[in-house]
């Protein structure tokens, strides 16, 4: 029907080299994706985990995701080609002719649409084709790919790409056609991006189904289906066109169809009423002139005309404001801006005041971070939009002949246009500032910090967007083409340089080391780097602007070669000087940066780091076998100079030979970045080897250390932050909020597989010729049982330290504060541990306000930033409750006090050191609560208090299951304390959240899921999430008292135990010993097997008995599986004690009971005294249920 129009379009595209270039790019990505993923690297692996661990490189879900993402990035091509297909006739003025031809609407529109659809589809098919070729090529590692399934490469094109193209194509096509030019396409592009980003935000914050529907790319819908798939399922299953994917595809195809019908209806073969070139318009009668009439112009008014530099500068300013007005008058600009801003502000509104799901006060640092997180898309779209609008302003309105013949040097329009885009960005920033403050006010927070807003938005961010605008303008001028200009721009500003191994920020245009704001510390460690990198890029932009001026198309000779030839002729004095200034500036600032980042500081790419770690292991692994003495005590003085960002640590480390062999060589590890001023064993020794790269010092002892003998190491090391780094900054040693640990300050003994570290990732290990190794040694590794993950040669130590700091700061360390005094303008604090503590210590120093309370002889101290006093009461309350409960139920608290100390928000975490709990300012201190939920700070403090027992009383061996004795038990401790502070429904909601965290986490597992008793290094979803859920179940089923009894018993034997250290098995044995035989299966399900349920309440019917009671009959389905490490599920016969309950109209529990349920049972009856509203199976989520949402149903009367 409309094949002729289609063929015309196709031939047109196929004649253009760009078509082949884009196809090749996609094919390259597809090929490289599969090839690199087969050895666990590359983009495909990075985006989807394909090829990592036991997941195959061509796992269908991964291809679905990969093709969806990359084709979504290809939306620029879609927009350009569809926009071109629809708007070309208007642009070229061809519509005068074409619209007069006897051509049907359907034939014209359909042909044009299909003529864009087919080539874009062909270009995108490069991905799958490239991947498929790689999959069959001999390059791929066969063990990384398994059996190749062709369908996995084809399916995403049918399910994802084609419907997406129909929708985005229809959208852009319609906008360009009905808007009669390309600009409205921008609005569509912005809308598309906004939809995706909003959907991604929703997905994170819980509205998964809505997010899956809303996301027009189908990515989220797919993830909703395969998100919790196990490894085995991921390798086998195609993403089914069902559930959310089906709904999403139907929705967006319908939207595409609706757009199509609308466009077809609205479109007329008619000439626009007011067209851009103004050919047709309203005419106003003028005085008739029918013959000769003197016009009255004898002399044109005499004017003074000035052409000095400053006049031209004024002209450039004028062009700037005029082009700015032009951009900001486009209706499409408002749509782009409105969509983009609403994206930033709406997601900002959701994310502001939320850290890891916890509400916080909308402090300015956090508001700025949340706003700037999403600013990138808006900034980029605004950049491309305004750059292309101003560059082609004159040309697109056909008035360039007039403007090009005006007596202005060409730098006037170029500078003017650069300025105009800068102004546009400034407006965006101003709006963001207003928006941010509005959000703060709306949240009832009125501590505005306009200075901070100005610095961050107008100083830091605006500069970035101006810089990339310059780059975009440059490439648009250079190429003379929109798409090519955009793609080149993106290529130079995005991470492509890092991907090809050029990781230094000097390679990626306008980039600089990441920075983070902190209330405690402002910009402090990042300021110099920001200024230096910005200056560097500003100078680089000067060069770009000069080139743009030289190549700026003027007049009619706009071919590239003609422009280059003309540019050469025009090289007058001005441009080489300006370019010279730019180049000199670039070189000067660049060498300052290189000096700072590679000479004063170490610069390492990801590869360098991996190689260094591999070298460490290859060179020194043999020392792992050699006997080395144990660290048993540290006596030190630590002098912190916060303003100089310098710290000196000197003192003695006591060493005891606890092995049964003599030690003749001391292997001493100092922090690699430290300057060693003194390092001397107490016994006579000779220096055998010094390795400054790894901080390793070997001493030959003249008299070997016999078993049981001890010696010392005198040390004096200094740590100074010099200049700035390319990777960010050392955020541990800062002006306000220093947070150092033993690894930063003190020498250690022996080879350390953890700290400086061996390579952990097995794929990387293989790449560097190291053997694969388990994540942690197995439970029966007796050698590993002799030490803890903290270090092979350190466990319990004596600790005595004098910390000095500047006189306005307070220094905090583990131990009792023996004395504090001031000397020579510095404050000194003497801390001494009253008993042996775990050799994992922290020293903090900042300008703190202090709050002191005490409960039953234990002092509770909160050291906080003076502005962050909001949650101090709650922290104290949680610490008190924890101390009370744990001391009663577990064992006495071992210290005389506990200190909770705030540190800057460079990390968002909470940690536990002996009697010392550092919590990030971004986490607990600015948290704000929803009264209906479990208050996270309360839970976090209880968790960290729990660690005072579960790490600092019992420390497990360095084998699998270590985290049962730390994190699982700390979670249990927090559970016990929280349960007393919150009601059932609050806890239920929390437990349900932990179940979904567990399911999500195991869905991301790539190696192997192990039972909880063997939980290890990377399986956080086990020890935090599953740990919480199963301990809740055990407390419910077996009883809290009995579990606590088992714990007390366990602690009696294991607390402060030395080698061999306890393991998770011992704890589980204690729990088993208090569990009735009938429930032993449950303990095994919890710890020793991986078990999943899908208990479902089908319906609940109620009848009134003659004596006024209500009899509820609940029909249900109980399903149970055991799962192996790769996620293959086996149906397990149900023979379980399961809880059932009936709830009243206000959610109150009317009846709850546990019944033994076997495979045949499908119905139970419960009788209650009041009117029931809902009933369900396992309503409090004691078991790990794949779909907890279907456990409870409404009761039918």
């Amino acid at each position: 029907m409309h094949v002729d129009v289609l063929l015309f379009e196709l031939r047109r595209r196929l004649r253009q080299p760009s078509t082949y270039v884009y196809f090749s790019i996609f094919a390259f990505f597809g090929f490289m994706g599969i090839w690199r993923a087969s050895v666990g690297h590359g983009l495909l692996a990075g985006l989807t985990q394909a090829g990592r661990g036991n997941i195959e490189a061509d796992a269908p879900y991964a291809l679905y995701h990969f093709i969806a993402i990359l084709s979504t990035f290809g939306v620029l091509i879609v927009a350009t080609w569809f926009g071109d297909a629809a708007g070309r006739d208007y642009r070229d003025g061809m519509y005068h002719l074409i619209f007069s031809y006897p051509i049907g609407k359907l034939r014209y529109l359909g042909g044009r649409f299909a003529g864009a659809l087919v080539p874009v589809f062909i270009v995108f098919s490069g991905l799958g084709l490239g991947g498929l070729i790689a999959a069959y090529s001999p390059l791929v590692a066969p063990e990384g790919i398994g059996e190749v399934r062709g369908m996995a490469f084809v399916e995403p094109y049918l399910v994802v790409v084609l419907p997406n193209l129909l929708f985005t194509g229809a959208l852009f096509f319609s906008l360009a056609l009905l808007g009669r030019r390309f600009l409205p396409v921008w609005a569509g592009l912005a809308g598309f991006v906004v939809l995706i980003v909003v959907a991604l935000g929703l997905e994170k914050t819980g509205g998964k189904w809505l997010a899956a529907l809303l996301d027009p790319s189908g990515m989220i819908a797919g993830r909703l289906i395969y998100g919790n798939w196990s490894i085995a399922q991921k390798n086998e299953w195609l993403v089914p066109l069902a559930g959310p994917v089906l709904a999403n595809r139907i929705l967006w195809t319908a939207v595409a169809a609706a757009i199509g019908v609308f466009t077809w209806r609205r479109f007329r073969f008619a000439i626009p009423e007011i067209s851009g070139s103004g050919e047709v318009g309203l005419s106003r009668p003028a005085a008739p002139v029918l013959g000769f009439q003197p016009s009255g112009i004898e002399a044109l008014p005499a004017t003074v005309r000035r052409f000095s530099f400053s006049d031209h500068l004024r002209r450039a300013l004028y062009v700037m404001t005029d082009d700015f007005t032009y951009v900001t008058r486009r209706r499409s600009f408002y749509v782009v801006l409105a969509l983009g801003l609403s994206l930033v502000l709406v997601t900002g509104f959701r994310n502001i005041g939320v850290v890891r799901g916890t509400q916080t006060f909308p402090v300015t640092t956090q508001v700025l971070e949340a706003l700037c997180d999403n600013l990138y898309f808006l900034g980029l779209i605004i950049t491309l939009f305004s750059a292309s609008a101003v560059v082609w302003r004159e040309r697109s309105w056909h008035s360039s002949e007039i403007f090009d013949a005006l007596p202005v040097p060409r730098w006037v329009p170029v500078l003017g246009k650069v300025g105009a885009t800068a102004l546009v960005h400034a407006v965006v920033m101003a709006l963001l500032m207003i928006g941010g403050m509005t959000i703060q006010a709306a949240r009832g927070y009125f501590h505005f910090e306009p200075a901070l807003y100005l610095t961050e938005l107008f100083g830091v961010r605006l500069v970035y967007y101006i810089l990339i605008s310059v780059l975009a303008l440059f490439f648009l001028v250079l190429t003379g083409r929109r798409l090519a200009g955009f793609i080149l721009t993106l290529f130079f500003i995005d991470d492509f340089m890092a991907i090809i191994g050029l990781e230094h920020h000097l390679w990626t245009f306008a980039s600089r080391p990441p920075h983070r704001l902190s209330d405690m510390n402002g910009y402090s460690p990042f300021g110099a780097a920001i200024v230096a990198y910005d200056l560097y890029w500003i100078f680089a932009s000067v060069v770009l602007i000069v080139l743009a001026v030289l190549l700026y198309p003027r007049g009619l000779d706009t071919g590239f070669k003609q422009r280059v030839r003309a540019a050469k002729r025009r090289l007058s004095a001005g441009s080489p000087i300006a370019a010279g200034v730019g180049v000199m500036g670039c070189l000067t600032v660049g060498s300052i940066i290189v000096y700072n980042t590679t000479i004063l500081n170490r610069f390492e790419t990801g590869k360098d780091i991996a190689r260094r770690k591999a070298d460490y292991e290859k060179t020194y692994k043999r020392w792992d076998e050699e006997p080395q003495p144990h660290v048993t005590g540290i006596t030190a003085s630590v002098d912190i100079y916060p303003r100089e960002r310098r710290v000196e640590a000197k003192g003695k480390v006591r060493l005891v030979n606890e092995t049964r062999s003599v030690v003749d060589t001391l292997f001493v590890q100092v922090p690699p970045d430290a300057m060693v001023r003194l390092l001397r064993p107490g016994a006579p020794a000779t220096r055998a080897q010094t390795d400054p790269v790894f901080g390793i010092h070997l001493f030959g002892l003249q008299e070997p250390l016999a078993p049981g003998d001890s010696t010392e190491i005198d040390f004096d090391v200094e740590l100074v932050e010099r200049g700035f780094k390319d990777t960010g900054a050392n955020t541990r040693l800062v002006t306000n909020g220093t947070f150092l640990t033993q690894m930063d300050l003190f020498p250690a003994s022996g080879y350390d597989p953890h700290g400086v570290g061996e390579l952990g990732d097995n794929d990387q290990r293989e790449a560097y010729g190291l053997p694969r190794r388990p994540r942690m040694p197995p439970l029966d590794d007796m050698a590993a049982r002799m030490h803890t993950p903290l270090g092979v040669h350190v466990d319990w130590i004596d600790f005595d330290v004098v910390v000095s700091t500047s006189d306005d700061q307070i220094a905090v360390a583990p131990g009792e504060l023996v004395r504090t005094w001031t000397e020579a303008g510095r404050r000194l604090f003497h801390y001494r541990a009253p008993r042996q503590i775990l050799g994992c210590v922290a020293i903090l120093s900042a300008r703190y306000a202090v709050r002191r309370e005490s409960a039953r002889g234990v002092g509770i101290e909160i050291y906080h930033h003076p502005d962050h006093a909001q949650n101090v009461d709650l922290m104290i309350e949680s610490a008190q409750h924890s101390l009370d409960y744990f001391a009663k139920e577990f064992s006495p608290y071992q210290f005389s006090g506990v200190r909770i100390v705030e540190f800057p928000r460079y990390e968002i975490s909470a940690e536990a050191y002996p009697g010392l709990i550092p919590i990030s300012e971004g986490y607990g201190f600015i948290a704000k609560y929803d009264e209906k939920k479990v208050k996270e700070v309360y839970r976090v403090v209880a968790h960290e208090m729990g660690h005072q027992w579960w790490a600092h009383q019992v420390i497990g061996a360095d084998v699998e299951g270590f985290f049962v004795l730390t994190e699982v038990m700390a979670q249990y401790s927090a559970l016990l304390v929280s349960k007393r502070a919150y009601d059932r429904s609050q806890m239920d909601a929390y437990v349900r959240g932990e179940i979904s965290r567990y399911l999500k986490g195991r869905g991301e597992e790539v190696e192997e899921e192990v039972p909880l008793v063997r939980t290890n290094q990377d399986t956080w979803y086990q020890h935090y999430a599953k740990g919480f859920v199963v301990m809740n179940a055990l407390a419910e089923y077996v009883g809290e008292d009995r579990i606590n009894e088992a714990i007390r018993e366990f602690l009696r034997g294991a607390a402060f135990q030395g080698p061999p250290f306890p393991t998770s098995c011992e704890l589980v044995d204690h729990i088993k010993s208090v569990t009735p035989d009938s429930l032993l299966y449950l303990v095994e399900d919890c710890f020793e097997r991986i078990v999943l349920f899908d208990n479902e309440a089908l319906s609940a019917d109620c009848e009134r008995t003659h004596d006024g009671w209500y009899r509820v009959t609940l029909s249900f389905e109980g399903r149970k599986w055991t799962v192996d490490g790769r996620g293959a599920e086996t149906v397990a016969p149900l023979r379980d004690l399961i809880e059932f309950a009936v709830f009243g109209e206000n959610g109150e529990e009317l009846r709850r009971e546990r019944r033994w349920v076997d495979a045949g049972a499908h119905e139970i009856t419960m009788t209650v005294g009041r009117r029931p509203a809902r009933a369900g199976i396992d309503p409090h989520y004691l078991l790990i249920d794949k779909r907890p949402e279907n456990n409870v149903v409404e009761v039918r009367m």
């Binding site: 007011i274 318009g281 003028a286 002139v289 016009s295 008014p301 056909h398 013949a405 007049g555 009619l556």
Partner: protein, 332 residues
Amino acid sequence: MKLSIKNLSKTYPGGVRALDRVDLSISEGMFGLLGPNGAGKTTLMRTIATLQKPDPDGGSIDLDGVDVLEEQDGVRRILGYLPQEFGLYPDVTAEHLLDHIALLKGISSRGERRDTVLFILEQTNLLDAHRRKLGEFSGGMKQRFGIAQALVGDPSLLVVDEPTAGLDPEERNRFHNILSDIAENRIVILSTHIVDDVSVLCSRFAILDQGGVLLSGNVSEAVAQLEGSVWSRVVDKAEVAGLEERCDVILTRLVGGRVLVHVAAERKPEGFEPAAPDLFDVYFAAIRRARRRRVASAGPNENRARTTRERHESETGTTRERRRSEEGGNAC
């Protein structure tokens, strides 16, 4: 002031030779550049207006000692240019855009700019419309705005490219009046394919065809040269072909369904009346003779070039004239 164009040639990348060794000397006053569509007029105008370069070693343009091709900036300061086709930003007012252009033309003082802009708008009869958006302008108003912007800055070199194309007779009149009033003391180069425009406005002119200058000089002198050698006769359509074979036909024109024929001859041909020659006769005689010469020596290449060109010129009278001339014979 004197603008001398010497040996100017321009070949487009596609191989079209737009200017072929053009030599012209233009002094103050109105200068008409006459030629059919595709003759190279616009290329010549754009080259004078600094927007295009000729071929390398493709000649020179000199304005009182200033090299127009190299010192573009100097030329632009005294240049007023009205392109043949141009668009205007539809959403700004006439006053705003004119003010913008005045600033770019070097009038830095805000007050002077305002005076100039209002004066010129008044002279071009756009004062009533100065607050209106340009998108609402009619074709005539737009064209007047075009001349207004060219006049800003009191240019001493004014280049106007086919300014009256598409204007109604009234607007054309208005235009002529303006142009003729400002032509004193400056060079005004007017390109057009309408013979009347030149005969009404210009004292000097040149005829350009296929990139070359066929004739240049004083209008009245050129007409006077034909005095006594032009003869006219009204014939039936069927007779035209025969006449063309026999005579030096310089002009054929439909009059009331029959054809008025002008021929050039030393002596009065039979059946013809003496006719008073005008610029039409000069123009068509020059073109027809040039074409006949070319057909006589035409190689296949040139024929092809002409066919392409003819495609672009479908709706003009000249094509029809030319076809006839090509069919017709030589002598009378």
